[in-house]
């Protein structure tokens, strides 16, 4: 639903902007991006500078500078922060996401292909995915301890549900003719899976992966809030405990940037992988 809506938005935008030359259009869209942000940052900075000091809201440029200092500062011990905290979080998140995605696609494909399996395990899946993934963190801690493997397993578990549901829907809604075609031409089951079934389900799977990637970051942070010794989430809680508000804001900014990067990365990959899909739909 949302994809068609964005398309109508885009086509209407084309029509509206079609009268102006390209460089003007580019300038306008850059202005639309830069001006509001610059205005907000400017007002924020101004208020902080002019008003009596507000402990909870440091100036925006101080936050940005401090984050830079924290991540890449000249201090030797600080230098490690980028590797020791930032990359730790990213690594755990990526590993958990990958495991959860693979596992989710496998289960989802099985559910999508066989109606019997789907109907048998659907209530179980529906129930398990209704448990907020974060609520299972204490269970994971009790079962697997407080190490990194626990965190990766926890992220993988939480991420997999989005992928399972979307893959099952995508595989289940493939037109029967396409599957029969593979059988008629005696395509081997493995090739049928990789050349027919998975590509046809890809748009749905990607929708699941998009949601899952946002969830992966959230789960990674939550797992670092409880019982961790490194990672951005851990640094954030530490800063809170010591009432270091500037550091806290900087780590929050780091998480925001991370979220932004993940979001745009997945959008980019989706655009590349699913180019055929959108083109084929546009032609009809």
């Amino acid at each position: 639903m949302s994809t068609t809506s964005t398309r109508t938005l885009a086509t209407r935008a084309l029509r509206a902007d079609g009268v102006r030359p390209a460089w003007q259009r580019a300038l306008v869209s850059i202005a639309y991006f830069v001006i509001p942000i610059a205005a907000i940052l400017g007002i924020w900075q101004l208020v902080v500078v002019l008003s009596p000091p507000a402990p909870f809201f440091p100036a925006p440029f101080a936050i940005i500078g401090n984050l830079w200092e924290l991540l890449f500062g000249s201090d030797k011990a600080v230098q490690q922060v980028f590797v020791g905290e930032f990359l730790q979080t990213v690594g755990r998140m990526a590993l958990g996401f990958a495991l959860g995605a693979i596992w989710g696609v496998i289960i989802g494909t099985v559910m999508g292909l066989s109606r019997g399996t789907r109907e048998t395990i659907n209530p179980i899946v529906e129930f398990l995915r209704s448990i907020p993934a974060t609520a299972t963190l204490p269970l994971f801690i009790i079962l697997l301890g407080g190490g990194d493997d626990m965190r990766v397993a926890f992220i993988a578990y939480g991420v997999s549900w989005f992928v399972v549901i979307n893959t099952a829907q995508g595989v289940g809604s493939i037109h029967k003719t396409m599957l029969d075609l593979g059988k008629v031409f005696r395509v081997s089951p493995a090739r049928r899976l990789f050349a027919i079934i998975l590509p046809a389900a890809m748009p749905k799977i990607f929708a699941g992966l998009r949601i899952a990637s946002t969830a992966a970051l959230l789960l990674a942070i939550v797992s670092e809030f409880m019982l961790a010794s490194n990672g951005i989430g851990y640094m954030l809680v530490q800063a809170q405990g010591r009432f270091q508000l500037l550091n806290m804001w900087s780590w929050m900014l780091a998480l925001a940037i991370l979220g932004l990067i993940i979001n745009s990365l997945l959008e980019f990959i989706e655009g590349k992988v699913l180019a055929w899909h959108r083109l084929s739909r546009q032609r009809t």
């Binding site: 942000i37 907000i40 109907e119 529906e126 204490p138 809170q240 929050m252 932004l260």
Partner: protein, 272 residues
């Protein structure tokens, strides 16, 4: 019985067959879990017998503390979702109706939206303490986006000819909004509310779990983990409380799904 219907009616799923298979699946899993635990294949310390977990999840309700925590979670969820709707629907409608306003706000939205809501917990915790307000603020921050974007799409998707026709019949601006824009955008808004509802519940429980001193199911689980007087018994309660959290989530999802089909069922759309 189900096997006779399978080949010819493959395209038309039989409801009773699905229900029976589902029941069989749930029963089968419960029996397997019970046997695996009782026979000692997996240590009972890690996998208590399933029947005991079920019994515990009922006896939990005898605990006044647990009932208070459930009530607190549900209340926060309702307030948070309500405030999100009140904020997101007008904003989404505004953005959907005016392109320049949307383009102006878009940069800020695109920067705010990817921020994981839990990242705000430390700041809000310091500012507001660990009470209800803190939870509500974070829930609203998380739940606003799906409602806002779905409202935007819904308002944007309103048939322009219908609006033109209403205008040529002399209906005023507010009349058009009330009679055409709202009815045609309502199913979209409802979809947003359904998505936000599950996000809100997850975020409520997550915040309770993390933020020390809070109330709610998450806090209940978190407190249990903190008390180490009887490990096996504590673990049983953690399992039971987690299952209860899932059950509450499932009930809310079913309720909202039913509500959506009942009142907004005219809109044919895919189940995504």
């Amino acid at each position: 019985m189900t096997s006779t219907t399978a080949p010819r009616q493959a395209r038309r799923p039989s409801r009773s067959g699905a229900i029976w298979r589902g029941v069989a699946g749930v029963l089968g899993l419960s029996i397997v879990l019970e046997i695996v635990s009782r026979s000692g294949i997996v240590d009972q310390k890690y996998l208590p017998p399933f029947s005991e977990v079920i019994v515990r999840s009922f006896t939990l309700w005898g605990d006044q503390q647990f009932r208070d925590d459930v009530a607190s979670t549900l209340l926060t969820y309702l307030i948070g979702l309500g405030i999100s709707i009140v904020i997101a629907v007008p904003l989404g409608a505004l953005f959907g109706m005016s392109r320049p306003i949307y383009r102006g706000a878009r940069a800020v939205i695109e920067l705010l939206r990817p921020i994981p809501p839990v990242a705000l917990i430390p700041l809000v915790l310091l500012m507001l303490g660990s009470g209800m307000e803190m939870k509500v603020v974070i829930v609203v921050f998380a739940a606003v986006w799906p409602i806002m974007f779905n409202t935007l799409y819904g308002v944007h998707d309103v048939d322009p000819y219908a609006k033109d026709m209403a205008r040529s019949f002399g209906i005023g601006r507010f009349g058009i909004i009330r009679r055409i824009v709202i009815p045609s955008a309502a199913p979209f808004i409802m979809t947003g509310v359904r998505i936000s509802s599950s996000i809100a519940l997850i975020v409520v429980i997550t915040v309770e779990l993390i933020a020390g001193g809070a109330q709610g199911i998450g806090a209940y689980i978190s407190r249990l983990r903190g008390s180490y007087n009887d490990a096996a018994d504590t673990y049983l309660s953690v399992l039971a409380a987690t299952i209860m959290a899932g059950l509450i989530g499932l009930l809310i999802n079913l309720l909202i799904g039913w509500f959506e089909r009942r009142f907004f069922g005219w809109e044919a759309r895919d189940s995504a």
